[in-house]
C-alpha cells in the first residue's frame, strides 16, 4: 500500500449551528480513486470543499503531504476541482478556459499551446479550441472542465458529482472515461456522488457517509458484501435487513428459524441485524428450504426477475434468473457466507433509511 497523501484529522464543521461534519477522520492514499458516497446532506460535498479550501473547518486539520494546509486558500493548493455544474468561463473560448490556470502560473506560450492540445486529446475533444462553452453539450462541457483541471498537473483531482447533470448513457460513458483518465494520469481522484452504482463502478475505495459521520470505508466489494450497519446495507443496493438473534458463534436465529452463518464474536443470544442480498437467496422446493413461504409479487427486470416472498410474516426480496409464478409455495435457502451479521444501530445515522425497528 502506498503512503497517505491527505489526512483529515478530527474535522468538525457546522453551518448556522447545524453540524454537518462531526469529528471526521479520513486519509487518502496516493493514486487512489476514493469516492465519498452518501445521500444529500451527508457532508460529502462539505468534506470536498474543505479539501479544496472553499470552506474552513471549525476544528481539525487537513494534512497534505505531511503539511498542515487547513488555512491555505484554494489558489495555493495543489488540488484542482471539477465542479458539479462545470463552471466554465462562458466569455472565454475553450482554449482560454484550459489555459486559465497555466497563464496564472506564468507558463510559456508554447508550453500552454502544447498542454491545450494534449488535454483536448485526452478528453477526446480535439479541434474545439476556438469554440465557446455555450455551444457545447453537457458531456462535452464536463470533459472541458476536466481538461481545464488536469492541465495544471494537480496531485489530486476533486470531482463534485461531475456526472450528476448528464443523462444515463452519457453518464456510463463518462464513468469509463474517468477510469481511463485516472489510469493514464496516475493522480489521486477524490470523487463525490450520491449514486451508489457510480461509486461501485469506479472506486478503489468507497467512503459511505450519513449525517456527518463516516459509516464505512472499504473496497466496493467489501462495502457491498459486508455492510457494517443497516444504513450502508440499505444505501448500497437492495437488501433484506432482518432483526435477528445471534444464538452463538456461526448460528443466528432469523425470524425464529436457526440459520448457519460464518460470523463470530458477537456473543451469545445477542440481538443483531442480518443482511441478505436478494440475489443470494435461493428459491427451492418447500421440502429443501430452511423456511417456507409464498410468492406474492413478481416483476420482470430484464437481467433478472424480482419477487417478493412472504415467509414467517416477513416480505423477502428475491432476485433470480428463474421465474416462479405468484402463489407458488417455495422453500428459502441461504448459504452461510451470504448471511452478513451487523450490530444493531447505536445512533440514528446508522439506521437504514425508512426502516423502522
Amino acid at each position: 500500500m502506498k503512503d497517505k497523501l491527505i489526512d483529515l484529522v478530527n474535522i468538525t464543521k457546522s453551518f448556522d449551528g447545524q453540524t454537518v461534519l462531526d469529528e471526521l477522520n479520513l486519509y487518502i492514499r496516493e493514486n487512489e480513486f476514493l469516492t465519498l458516497l452518501g445521500p444529500s446532506g451527508c457532508g460529502k460535498t462539505t468534506t470536498l470543499r474543505i479539501l479544496g479550501g472553499f470552506e474552513t473547518p471549525d476544528s481539525g486539520q487537513v494534512i497534505f503531504n505531511g503539511e498542515d494546509i487547513t488555512k491555505l486558500p484554494p489558489n495555493k493548493r495543489q488540488l484542482n476541482t471539477v465542479f458539479q455544474k462545470y463552471a466554465l468561463f462562458s466569455h472565454m473560448s475553450i482554449a482560454e478556459n484550459i489555459a486559465f490556470g497555466l497563464k496564472i502560473k506564468g507558463k510559456s506560450k508554447t508550453y500552454i499551446q502544447d498542454k491545450i492540445k494534449y488535454a483536448l486529446k485526452l478528453v477526446n475533444l480535439e479541434g474545439f479550441e476556438d469554440r465557446s462553452p455555450d455551444s457545447l453539450s453537457g458531456g462535452q462541457q464536463q470533459r472541458i472542465a476536466i481538461a481545464r483541471a488536469i492541465v495544471n498537473e494537480p496531485k489530486v483531482l476533486l470531482l463534485d458529482e461531475p456526472l450528476g447533470a448528464l443523462d444515463l448513457k452519457l453518464r456510463q460513458d463518462m464513468q469509463y472515461e474517468l477510469i481511463r483518465l485516472k489510469n493514464e494520469l496516475g493522480i489521486t481522484f477524490i470523487y463525490v456522488t450520491h449514486d451508489q452504482e457510480e461509486a461501485l463502478t469506479m472506486s478503489d475505495t468507497i467512503v459511505v457517509m450519513n449525517q456527518g459521520y463516516i459509516q464505512q470505508i472499504g473496497t466496493p466489494e467489501k462495502i457491498y458484501n459486508e455492510p457494517e450497519n443497516a444504513f450502508v446495507a440499505d444505501f448500497i443496493g437492495d437488501s433484506n435487513i432482518i432483526p435477528s438473534l445471534m444464538v452463538e458463534d456461526k448460528l443466528v436465529k432469523i425470524l425464529g428459524v436457526p440459520f448457519k452463518c460464518v460470523d463470530t464474536g458477537f456473543g451469545k443470544n445477542k440481538p443483531v441485524d442480518v443482511v441478505i442480498r436478494p440475489e443470494d437467496i435461493d428459491l427451492v422446493s418447500p421440502a429443501d428450504g430452511t423456511m417456507t413461504g409464498i410468492v406474492t409479487h413478481l416483476i420482470f427486470k430484464g437481467v433478472h426477475y424480482e419477487m417478493e416472498v412472504t415467509a414467517n410474516n416477513f416480505e423477502w426480496l428475491v432476485h433470480s434468473t428463474d421465474m416462479v409464478p405468484v402463489g407458488t409455495e417455495v422453500g428459502i435457502k441461504v448459504d452461510p457466507f451470504d448471511i452478513q451479521i451487523m450490530n444493531k444501530p447505536v445512533s440514528e445515522d446508522e439506521e437504514a433509511v425508512g426502516v423502522e425497528e
Binding site: 484542482n80 462562458s90 476556438d130 455551444s135 472542465a145 483541471a149
Partner: protein
C-alpha cells in the same frame, strides 16, 4: 379587421400622446422666429448660436463632467455594494436591498433638500463638489439595481473554479465574475449617466454660485422666456439620451448572438471596451481638470459673488468688469424671488450682491438680511433718475439698502384691430364685449392689484371690505376670461389669439416688434410699478467689491449695454440719453411720463397673515 384597425389607431394615439411634445420641441428648435406663436421658416441658427454661447457650453461641459464622474464613481461604489450584499445572508440582504431602494423611490425634492442641509451642517461650500457628491448618492441605487440581477445569475462556482485554478481572489473577480456582470455594470453606468444628465431638482438644491448644469441653466431663463437656443439644446439632450438608451438596450442582445463562436470581431469589441473607452474618458476628465484649473477664478479671494435673475445681465459686462478691476465674478442665477429668499436667508452661500424685487427687498430689510450701502463707493448713483429713487422709498425708506437696476409697469396689451374704442381703463377687463378675448395674469398679487386699482383702492390694501369687493369683481369677471396665464400672454397676443391681456411692460416692447397691431397702455386708474434693485446681504464677505460692482453697473455705458441686452426699462437716465434709436429712447412703454407713473405703486410685502388672506380669496376666485 375592425379590431386590427382599432388596435393600430390606439397604438398611434398612444405614440402621439407620448411623443407630440418632443416633436413640437424639435420642430421649434428649427423655427427661425423667436416666438413659438409663429413659424418663421427653417433655420439651424439656434444650433449655431448655441455652440457660440460660452455660458451654455460651460453648463454643458459641467453637466457632462458631473454625469461622467458621478456615473463612474457610483458604478464602482454600487458594484462593490452589490457584491457585498450578494455575500450577505438572505435576511440582511433583503433589508439592505430595501434600504438602497428607498432613495430611488423617495421624492427628489426631499433628497435635494436633505443633501443641502447636510452640506450646510458640515460647512461644505456648495459648488461643483457638492453636486458631484449628490449625484453619486442618488446614482448608487440605480447601479445596484442593475448589477444585482447579473450577480444573481453568476454562479459562485465559476469564481471558485478560478480560485481553484490558482487565481487570487482579486484576479478571479476581474477575470471571471466581472465579465459576467459587465452588461449589468455597463447598463448601470449608462443609467447613472442618464439620470445625472437630466437631474434638475437635486442639482438645484446642492449647487453653489457660479456653477450651472444644463437643467438649472435652462430653468433660470424661465422669467424672461426660454430662448430658442434652449429648444436646440433640449433636442440635442433628447437625442443623446435616446442614443444612450438604445445602447443600453441593444448591446446585450447583440453580444449574445455573437457569442456562439468567439470571433475576432468580438475581440475587437472587447478591446474597444477595455482600452479605447477608458482612454477617452481619461482624456475628457484630464482635459476637464485642466479646464477648471485654468479657470482659476474660484480659487482666488478677490471676488464678488453675484446672485441675479436668469438672463438679467449682459455676459460681456462681467468680462469688462473683471478686466477693469481684476475682481473675479462668481455668477449665479435664480428664477423667482421666493427661490432666492431662502437661499440667502439660510446663509449656505454668502452672496455679495443680489437683485431682488421691491416687496422682497422690504421683506429682507425687515428681517435684517441686508447691509447698509456705503454710497461713497457708489458715486454713479447720480446717474439714477430721481423718480425711481423716490418710488424705491416705498420699500426702502431713505434708499439705505438698494440701488434700482430695472423697472417696469403692469398694463394692458391690446390688439388695435380687435377693439373698437381707445383703451385707457381697467374697465375693459369687465366688458362683456370681449368675452373669451381677455387674458389675465395667473398670479394672486397681479390679479388683485389690477382689480383694487380699478376700484380706486391701493394695490397693497389690507382692508377686508376692499379685498372682498375685489374678490367679487374677479369672480364676476371670470366667465369673460379666456385664460389665466403667465408667459403665454406674450405668445397668444402675438398670435392674435386674444384681444386684451394684462402684461408687463418689458414684454410689451418685444410683442410689438413681432406684431405691429399690438398697443400697450397704463390705465388711468394707475397700476403696479415694479423695481428690481441691487442689495448687499448682511453676511457678504466682499462688501467693497459688491459696491464696486453696483457702481460699475450704474455707469451709463454699462447700463446701456444691459438695457439693450435685457430690454427692460432702465432707471439710469444717463444711459437712456445714450440710446441712439429715437423710437426706443422716447418709447412710452419703456419710459412713460412721470405723470403716468403718478398713481402707480410698488407691491409691498403684507406679512404672512395677509399673504394667506390673499391666497384664500384667490382660491375662491379660481374655484368659483
Amino acid at each position: 379587421m375592425i379590431k386590427k384597425v382599432s388596435q393600430k389607431v390606439y397604438m398611434a394615439l398612444i405614440f402621439i400622446l407620448l411623443y407630440a411634445p418632443i416633436v413640437t420641441l424639435i420642430v421649434l428648435s428649427f423655427n427661425a422666429s423667436r416666438t413659438r406663436a409663429k413659424w418663421g421658416g427653417f433655420t439651424i441658427d439656434w444650433y449655431k448660436s448655441l455652440f457660440q454661447n460660452s455660458q451654455i457650453m460651460n453648463a454643458l461641459y459641467t453637466t457632462l463632467i458631473i454625469a461622467l464622474l458621478s456615473a463612474l464613481i457610483a458604478t464602482i461604489l454600487g458594484t462593490l455594494a452589490a457584491i457585498g450584499m450578494q455575500g450577505m445572508k438572505k435576511k440582511s440582504r433583503t433589508v439592505f436591498m430595501g434600504l438602497t431602494n428607498i432613495p430611488m423611490l423617495n421624492a427628489e425634492i426631499v433628497m435635494g433638500i436633505s443633501l443641502m442641509l447636510l452640506f450646510i451642517a458640515f460647512h461644505i461650500t456648495l459648488g461643483f463638489s457638492t453636486i458631484l457628491i449628490a449625484h453619486i448618492t442618488f446614482n448608487i441605487p440605480y447601479v445596484i439595481l442593475s448589477v444585482t440581477p447579473k450577480l444573481k445569475q453568476t454562479k459562485r462556482s465559476t469564481y471558485e473554479a478560478a480560485l481553484d485554478l490558482g487565481a487570487s481572489p482579486l484576479k478571479a473577480f476581474f477575470s471571471v465574475v466581472f465579465p459576467d456582470i459587465m452588461p449589468g455594470v455597463l447598463s448601470g453606468f449608462m443609467l447613472a449617466f442618464t439620470m445625472s444628465l437630466d437631474d434638475f431638482v437635486i442639482t438645484h438644491f446642492t449647487k453653489g454660485p457660479g456653477i450651472d448644469t444644463l437643467s438649472t441653466k435652462i430653468y433660470t431663463e424661465v422669467r424672461k422666456g426660454i430662448k430658442p437656443e434652449m429648444y436646440a439644446l433640449s433636442t440635442l439632450l433628447f437625442v443623446t439620451v435616446l442614443i444612450l438608451l438604445i445602447l443600453i438596450n441593444v448591446s446585450p442582445a447583440d453580444s449574445k448572438k455573437a457569442r456562439k463562436v468567439i470571433t475576432k470581431r468580438t475581440k475587437a469589441v472587447s478591446i474597444i471596451c477595455k482600452r479605447v473607452v477608458p482612454a477617452l474618458m481619461a482624456i475628457v476628465l484630464i482635459a476637464g481638470g485642466f479646464y477648471y484649473a485654468g479657470q482659476g477664478g474660484l480659487g482666488t479671494d478677490d471676488k464678488v459673488i453675484v446672485y441675479n435673475w436668469g438672463e438679467y445681465l449682459d455676459p460681456e459686462v462681467i468680462t469688462i468688469f473683471e478686466e477693469e478691476t481684476g475682481i473675479d465674478v462668481v455668477y449665479e442665477e435664480f428664477e423667482t424671488n421666493e427661490i432666492m429668499y431662502p437661499k440667502v436667508q439660510s446663509g449656505a452661500i454668502a452672496y455679495d450682491v443680489v437683485c431682488p424685487s421691491d416687496y422682497m427687498i422690504q421683506r429682507m430689510r425687515e428681517n435684517g438680511l441686508l447691509a447698509e450701502l456705503n454710497y461713497d463707493n457708489i458715486p454713479n448713483i447720480k446717474n439714477i433718475g430721481k423718480t425711481y429713487l423716490e418710488k424705491s422709498e416705498e420699500f426702502d425708506p431713505g434708499n439705505l439698502y438698494s440701488v434700482p437696476y430695472c423697472w417696469g409697469t403692469v398694463g394692458i396689451l391690446y390688439n388695435k384691430t380687435m377693439v373698437d374704442e381707445p383703451i385707457d381703463s381697467w374697465s375693459v377687463l369687465w366688458d362683456e364685449k370681449y368675452k373669451d378675448n381677455i387674458l389675465m395674469q395667473d398670479s394672486v398679487r397681479d390679479a388683485f392689484g389690477v382689480t383694487l386699482k380699478y376700484l380706486g383702492y391701493s394695490l397693497n390694501s389690507t382692508d377686508l371690505d376692499e379685498l372682498t369687493a375685489a374678490r367679487d369683481m374677479l369672480i364676476r369677471q371670470k366667465p369673460l376670461v379666456q385664460a389665466y396665464v403667465i408667459d403665454q400672454v406674450r405668445d397668444k397676443m402675438i398670435g392674435n389669439e386674444a384681444a386684451i391681456g394684462v402684461i408687463y411692460s418689458g414684454e410689451a416692447i418685444y410683442t410689438q416688434q413681432e406684431n405691429a397691431d399690438l398697443e400697450y397702455v397704463i390705465p388711468k386708474e394707475g397700476s403696479n410699478i415694479w423695481i428690481d434693485s441691487w442689495v448687499i446681504p448682511k453676511n457678504a464677505q466682499h462688501k467693497e467689491n459688491a459696491e464696486k460692482f453696483i457702481n460699475f453697473l450704474c455707469r451709463p455705458d454699462i447700463a446701456l449695454m444691459n438695457f439693450e441686452y435685457i430690454t427692460y426699462s432702465t432707471p439710469n437716465t444717463a444711459a437712456r440719453d445714450l440710446i441712439e434709436d429715437d423710437s426706443i429712447r422716447n418709447s412710452p412703454i419703456a419710459f412713460p411720463d412721470d405723470e403716468e407713473l403718478k398713481d402707480c405703486e410698488t407691491y409691498r410685502f403684507l406679512g404672512d397673515e395677509f399673504d394667506s388672506v390673499y391666497n384664500e380669496m384667490w382660491n375662491k376666485v379660481k374655484a368659483s
